[in-house]
Symmetry: C2
Subunit: 133 residues, 2 copies
DNA sequence: CTTGACCTTCCAGTGCACTGGAAGGCTTAC
DNA sequence: GTAAGCCTTCCAGTGCACTGGAAGGTCAAG
């Protein structure tokens, strides 16, 4: 399987696959006689793993770590477990933040919708956003 | 008020305030005879506005736009209104994404917690993350 | 034999929001 | 007068995850 096909199958752009290899996230690909990268199903699996892990909120650096640990023959389970728990905490924090932002935004939006632009006073930057909450 | 004091009062590092000026987010500060930047309460208000707008999820670029529109004498209300509504949509999307990620992560974490690392098979990258959902 | 779709490397840029550090000037207190 | 702690500019780097483009090699179809 050439890089274009892998890109097609996985949905990850060829450029990005090369980039992943470059930063060591993926192992150097096998090469055909002509120098083209050649991939097997393992490569697809690895790429899918990267996608899953990314969807789970892990950074490429963290994914690299898991991959590296695995390739050393150690089971990354404990490591992954920690990573997962840490990310769950982070996600909860981020969720709380986002919800607060949403409330703030909604209150601002309600205020904005009730305003006639002509009423905007000249002496403040923007009465919608500046008013005290 | 010198930059350090403004930084102290606002909680925004002096470095960042200079950066904001550099990118045109804040207007060039008044200078004292010795070249030091000098700020008044308006500056503090602008900085607070930036903080609020940032907390509301606007990018510095968007905040610049609002500030620029205002400084042209036009009321940015309509613009801000649009911005707010667009950001509300974005936040809802991001919230949905995050919640999905959280569910995914929780399911992975439950799986990981139930696993003995010794059970990790050697032939997959990481059974926690790779398994089908 | 050419056209077009692939593939290669390499370098450089993007976007976002800073942040660090060097080299030097100013101010205040002792 | 000197030391600490401000301030200035300028350049450069950070982190994350790509993305673009140039210049060139390869392959299959017509």
């Amino acid at each position: 399987m050439k890089i274009g096909e892998l890109a097609e199958t996985s949905g990850v752009p060829a450029k990005t696959i090369r980039y992943y290899e470059e930063i060591g996230l993926l192992p150097p690909a096998e090469r055909e006689a002509n120098g083209y990268r050649s991939y097997d199903m393992d490569a697809l699996q690895r790429l899918r793993f990267v996608q899953h892990a990314q969807a789970a909120g892990l950074t490429l650096r963290e994914i690299s770590q898991v991959l590296a640990i695995r390739s050393e023959g150690r089971a990354p389970c404990v490591h992954v477990r920690d990573l997962l728990h840490r990310h769950l905490v982070q996600i909860d924090e981020r969720l709380a933040e986002l919800r607060a932002t949403k409330r703030e935004l909604q209150s601002l939006a309600r205020h904005a919708d009730a305003l006639d632009p002509a009423d905007c006073p000249e002496d403040v930057i923007c009465s919608i956003l500046v008013r005290e909450r």
